[in-house]
């Protein structure tokens, strides 16, 4: 075993006469050993350096998902919101509107029940339900499995409806093209400040149930300014998924995003700048 880094089996040596690759090490030192077959033997009390990013495994799978989607020119959107903001209603209406124009598929994430998948299936769309059980978010490995099971055709639009939760899904890159956060007027104008990570991670905010704004004393301008306080680049569309207000602009946004990935390779690396 190398006395410097603890790798290799057998007795400790410090003569650096043998050789081994150090590609998986967080440090470099000028020696190599041959034949690293046995797991490292470790002595009590020694410090083993890892320097391992805990989300690195998820991010690596997300990167593969993004490449898989990019090769097929599939636009994948990760829909996130608190429970009850109207993600499924928005999806039902959107599917009816756009599925005549292009292939659409949906991944539904909920802790329990296939209820949302049944609603999407009733709207005539291929759907895969993921029940996360004790989990509070979808992760990249779940989406990797879902992509292979659903196998959306080239050029499809894929909606991933995440678990209703404004905290955890912000941290887990799925390989999507963008996160779309749905906020609804009864939740109040301060949601972006209360859950800044999610609003920072999103590319687009859909301000849903805008038809209810007068009834719930919702200040639209204040909500948008708060959202842009945490994410200056956030795009915002005010809509009502139930009544139809503003949905033309949402569909136009979707078509713009589809056109963009057809002109660029969609394998854009995740922008970690503000997440």
């Amino acid at each position: 075993m190398c006395a410097t880094c603890g790798c290799g089996g057998g007795p400790v040596h410090a003569d650096h006469s043998r050789e081994h690759p150090h590609a998986d090490h967080a440090h470099e030192h000028p020696h190599r050993h041959a034949g690293l077959l046995a797991p490292p033997a470790f002595t009590p009390g020694r410090i083993v350096r890892l320097e391992q990013d805990v989300l690195a495994k998820n991010d690596a799978i997300a990167l593969r998902n993004r490449a898989w989607l990019g090769e097929r020119e599939i636009l994948a959107l990760n829909l996130v919101s608190s429970p009850g903001a109207g993600k499924t209603t928005l999806l039902e209406r959107t599917l009816r509107e756009v599925r005549g124009e292009l292939p659409v598929a949906v991944v539904e994430g909920d802790q329990e029940t296939p209820l949302d998948a049944e609603r999407i299936r009733a709207a005539g769309c291929p759907v895969l339900q993921i029940n996360t059980g004790r989990g509070c978010h979808l992760d990249a490995a779940m989406i990797s499995d879902a992509l292979r099971a659903l196998d959306p055709p080239r050029g499809a639009l894929l909606f991933i409806e995440n678990v209703g939760n404004l905290v955890c899904p912000a941290m887990f890159d799925l390989g999507e093209h963008a996160k779309v956060v749905v906020a609804s007027t009864p939740e109040g104008a301060d949601k972006p400040l209360k859950y800044p990570h999610m609003f920072r991670a999103a590319k687009l905010m859909l301000l849903n149930k805008i038809d209810l704004a007068p009834h719930v004393a919702f200040d639209e301008a204040l909500c948008i300014s708060r959202a842009r306080q945490v994410n200056p680049a956030l795009e915002v569309l005010s809509i009502s998924a139930a009544r139809g207000d503003g949905l033309d602009r949402w569909y136009a946004w979707l078509h713009g995003a589809i056109a963009a990935i057809r002109h660029h390779d969609a394998g854009t690396p995740k922008d970690r700048a503000l997440t």
Partner: protein, 110 residues
């Protein structure tokens, strides 16, 4: 409670490196902008470590302050604290350079 997934990731990362070796201490770096709550990690870590060489290990958590470059005023090294990263100039248009990650930096073997 994404800290459960985080804790599983911590235990997996350690076991990939040290296998079933007994671990006495785990050194973590948790960025203050990372959206990871250290106390929740402690709670979940105990659950995830059960039955592994990491069971019973103590957690040494280093909370790393957020630092960023500001695209608004051009400041190169801005200290960021609080839930909403803001430069002193009022801009939120920041490129975070530290404090947004969570690392297992090292372990001490038992």
């Amino acid at each position: 409670m994404h800290e459960l997934s985080i804790a599983e990731g911590i235990v997996d990362a350690i076991r990939e490196r040290t296998g079933d070796a007994r671990v006495a201490r785990v050194f973590l770096e948790i960025g203050k902008l990372s959206c990871i709550e250290p106390e929740a990690v402690r709670f979940c870590f105990e659950l995830c470590a059960r039955g592994t060489g990491v069971q019973g290990a103590s957690l040494e958590i280093d909370e790393v302050a957020g630092r960023a470059c500001c695209r608004g005023c051009g400041a190169q090294d801005v200290a960021i604290d609080g839930a909403i990263p803001l430069c002193a100039c009022g801009s939120a248009d920041l490129h975070v350079v530290a404090g947004d990650r969570m690392l297992v930096t090292a372990v001490e073997l038992a």
